[in-house]
Symmetry: C2
Subunit: 407 residues, 2 copies
């Protein structure tokens, strides 16, 4: 893939260069930071011009940025984000749509749109993204790169704009599984990953493959078979109601409804006062997200929080430390830019939210791997790991990439 010029990519809101503060496993690597994450001395814009104006400049960088700088990486700038991180499309009303170089006629996906674009365009080696409901995984899938959402709570979110603290995480997008694993290891600060461990069982999530577009299913079939060969184990089809101990989990509406209501309730808690006092202009997708959040009956959150905890608890019991789930990152390839619906109720949006809710609800780590294409566009195959088993997951993913290049 040829390198694309910065101006063509539309990936950055600001370019600058911060040298590393230490030596380490990221020596010589360049990274970009989603503009939802503080960099010392700069205003964090969060994809909204009013926010950019009213946010005072950061005095220190977010902890995650400092970790990467200390491990030898150089920071190259801040990247476009979907407004307030509240969309999976990669379209920002004010700052435009970063280029998806793998499928230029399609959206890059969001909300870490600029981070995915900067990596896919070859402008940086990796980038910081945030992932509440798919914001690292979906753009990784759309742009044909590697994306990691960590186990909930293991990477510092201090200095990062919250959207829904129940689900918010800081993750990494990278051009190779090797760089992904190294950058993730720095954020995890885990001195002894169990590098030798191999997956025990890989559960293919049957509902996800059954629901995905036929072209996605067909494109991913060889990828799943490849994963089987790499680890010399047979994957087994498992349904979500078994994994979650609840028949409702076989219905994607349950996941989407649960995720949407919880994120809506928390997002309004995080941003409602600011929206009401500043009355900032918002793009249509963001506006519709907060409209929905305002319409929620907050006295009826108990059922949905309870369902989340029930699913999470069962998933935790169902997955041994070396077990993985396998599913398409999204049900379809990225929408075409000139045909994309901004409606959160479109089939594409609903199912993409639902697929990506599994790791969020379960507090589980997930990696999207660029192992296939359909309609000449990338589509990611995802592996979800057990709680806290990010190191094993990233090692498995690295082995898959190595086997591909040597195979």
């Amino acid at each position: 893939m040829n390198t694309i010029r910065v101006e063509q990519s539309g990936a950055f809101v600001e370019r600058f260069s911060i040298p590393p503060t230490g030596d380490g496993v990221l020596n010589g690597l360049r990274f970009a930071v989603k503009d939802l994450v503080d960099v010392a001395g700069r205003r964090t814009g969060c994809g909204n011009p009013t926010r950019l104006e009213t946010n005072p400049p950061a005095v220190v960088s977010a902890v995650c940025v400092d970790q990467l700088l200390a491990a030898g990486a150089q920071c190259e700038g801040k990247t476009v984000t979907d407004e307030l991180a509240f969309s999976l499309l990669g379209i920002n009303h004010f700052y435009g749509t970063p280029l998806n170089p793998a499928a230029p006629e399609r959206v890059p996906g969001g909300s870490s749109s600029g981070s995915a674009s900067a990596v896919a365009c070859g402008l940086v080696d990796f980038a910081i993204g945030t992932d509440t409901g798919g914001s690292v995984r979906v753009p990784a899938s759309n742009c044909g790169i590697w994306g990691w959402r960590p186990t909930y709570g293991v990477v510092s979110v201090a200095g990062v704009m919250p959207l829904a603290p129940m689900f918010d995480t800081v993750g990494i997008l990278a051009r190779s599984a090797d760089v992904l694993r190294r950058a993730a290891a720095v954020l995890l600060a885990d001195a002894k990953p169990q590098a030798a461990a191999t997956p025990a069982t890989i559960h293919v999530v049957s509902e996800a493959f059954d629901t995905a577009d036929a072209e996605v299913r067909d494109a991913l079939r060889p990828a799943v078979e490849f994963v089987e060969r790499v680890f010399d184990i047979r994957v087994q089809r498992t349904s979500l109601d078994e994994l979650c101990g609840d028949v409702s989990a076989a219905d994607w509406n349950s996941w989407r409804d649960m995720y949407r209501r919880l994120v809506g309730a928390e997002a309004l808690s995080c941003h409602g006062a600011w929206l009401a006092s500043e009355r900032p202009p918002l793009g249509p997708i963001t506006e519709s997200g907060f409209k929905h959040a305002e319409s929620l009956d907050r006295s009826r959150l108990a059922e949905v929080i309870g369902r989340r905890e029930r699913y999470c608890r069962h998933l935790r019991r169902a997955l041994g430390p070396r077990d993985l789930l396998c599913l398409p990152t999204a049900p379809s390839v990225a929408p075409l830019k000139d045909m994309v619906s901004l409606d959160r109720n479109s089939d594409y949006y609903r199912l993409t939210v639902a697929f990506n809710a599994i790791a969020g609800v379960g507090r589980l780590p997930q990696v999207s791997m660029p192992l296939a294409t359909a309609s000449s566009a990338p589509i990611g195959l995802s592996l979800i790991g057990a709680y806290g088993e990010d190191a094993l997951l990233l090692y498995a993913v690295d082995r898959i990439e190595n086997s591909r290049s040597s195979g």
Copy 2:
């Protein structure tokens, strides 16, 4: 205990009455909310007058407040907090020191000082607190009430001022274990707590008892023996280096250093920009906390984050789902108001931070139980549960209280 008048308590920053929004297990109970937590239509002051002025009014209540209202409880007002929740003493430079009715000459402890005071004074049945490094547990211990810090990440912190997101939790202070368990069950939204389970092993943390003041050790010995009789199991002495798989864990300086550096780094990420742009007057304890945070070398966080994850991982392996740790909530009874040191390097402060860092570092739930007194002041005995086993822990605590009243 006689009820104390509101004005005498100094517990509230604002009194009002919000009726319940639903019917449930908290019908008829009244609660107060720490002024770090949003209540719709009101400004959240966070214990700092500039913050109170510059924070726009909340448009919705924090998710945790809405959960309690929906379960039948009535909200009675907002309570004093240590400034920006950044102290364990219960002394607020601007809003005073709420009354500790169980030991009026001593500090109530903080940062959930007003919540503890309101409960201990009999003004409400329970109160919302927040706990980053002991801010629920220490005031519960000082004031002779029950206090619960949840498993990290299971109770929504949306609409709650962050101090250090790596450790921040929302917890409950209550006058009885029964009320504590019921309010906690609402926040946990866990339909099926394993109510029948009893503890398998109770590990008495040897370093904590060895380090505590002699009067605390003597006062808690019968309480530990009582817990043994309730569950008909023998407790076993276990050292922190065994539990954490690292000799450094036997040294309280390791816990205190780790906690203090991580909270300092995250607190500066959360509040540094606001402090630099608003230049608000701060009380001396808060000032010293941020001075220390500013002095940290952020390029050297990797070691301390790594140590935290190592300890956490070992603790998780060492504790089975039905195992508990047992230790004094604090090494001493609450300091006398006219002799208290505001120095974070005092022995009392250092050790109190260190004792309370265990649950924080391990992401584990903890309950402080008012089972003893020394020098005519309360001192709490704490139980720490396994990750996610809040329901079992709260049930065990409830059984202890029941056995006491019937015994």
